[in-house]
Symmetry: C2
Subunit: 165 residues, 2 copies
DNA sequence: TTTTATTTTCAGTAATTATTGAAAGTTTAG
DNA sequence: CTAAACTTTCAATAATTACTGAAAATAAAA
């Protein structure tokens, strides 16, 4: 299989986006490839197109499945596993928001909660406690918005936008 | 100068958060340090507390200033430069949203626009074009929300939340 | 101006993160 | 069951990213 310049550019752009936001480049690139692929792809297919190793492919496909962005497809008459990506941008965004919240936000919020418990309320910790409290308040609000986003349908977003006008 | 365990933990947590989201760990840690510091700090002060080199300190303080998260303070009777961070979590969030949008979102959106222009509208590029169009539509909407967020005051957020109930 | 204090830069190096590939594990067909 | 097809794991290695420290540049004081 061979990609056109445009397809390669899309994959490259998506990979860079991933890298900039702390996502493995290969994971983002496989995602991009699946996003523009009409049919499910096998590990071999991805390896060939992206010029990456079997191990790399396997690990990052697994990550995509764990993130709920791709899923295994059975193709009758073939023993290989095939994978395809969810294509609805709304579903994708929700899925990513949900996962990043769980992985890269919740642990921080919990650590700050812990921290607050064990911090004496003295002069030396005045600034720290103010900051932690502010961050907690803020994150509760953002979190509640994110939660609504994650559980929403596309409609929700339009409604919010309209109300903001 | 010496930090308590709690202060160190805060700095560590903030550094990890940065790393997970594609921000230099030291940059995030200096930010955290300034956030919980009552008075402006000199380069020496930060170097000592965080145990990092002059060069590293200098580069990351500059980055914080460029991001609009910290600013130089003149302290009379001292030739050194001192720095302090903005402490309002709302201002911080807006500043970060604005900067990340400019640095890590706009270039992607522009690349996709370019890509769309140069992609032939044929069978081979059907999926690609659908995806790019979807992403563009989506990002316009998110962008408009982000813009409102960036230009908003805290009040805006509460209003939105209330309307969502 | 010269000297001293301070900041900036950046080539070299260290630390971290990502990738490979072959061996071990698993599944399916015969 | 055995063999072949395929997938997974992970130690070794490569690639990337971050950090250091000393030299160069700049700014302030004498």
């Amino acid at each position: 299989m061979n990609l056109t310049d445009q397809q390669q550019k899309f994959i490259h752009t998506w990979g860079t986006l991933g890298t900039n936001w702390g996502i493995n480049k290969t994971m983002a690139q496989i995602h991009a490839l699946l996003l523009i692929s009409e049919k499910p792809l096998s590990t071999e297919g991805m390896m060939e197109v992206l010029q990456i190793s079997r191990g790399n492919t396997n690990m990052n496909v697994r990550a995509l499945v764990e993130w709920g962005l791709a899923s295994k497809e059975m193709i009758s008459g073939d023993r290989k596993d095939f994978y395809s990506a969810k294509k609805d941008i709304w579903v994708i965004a929700r899925q990513i928001a949900q996962q990043r919240r769980k992985r890269e936000l919740e642990p921080v919020i919990n650590a700050l909660k812990e921290l607050k418990k064990e911090t004496p309320n003295d002069e030396q910790h005045k600034e720290l406690l103010e900051r932690v409290n502010d961050i907690e308040d803020f994150s509760i609000k953002v979190d509640s918005m994110l939660e609504k986003f994650v559980k929403s349908d596309e409609n929700w977003f339009y409604k919010v936008l309209l109300k903001l006008v």
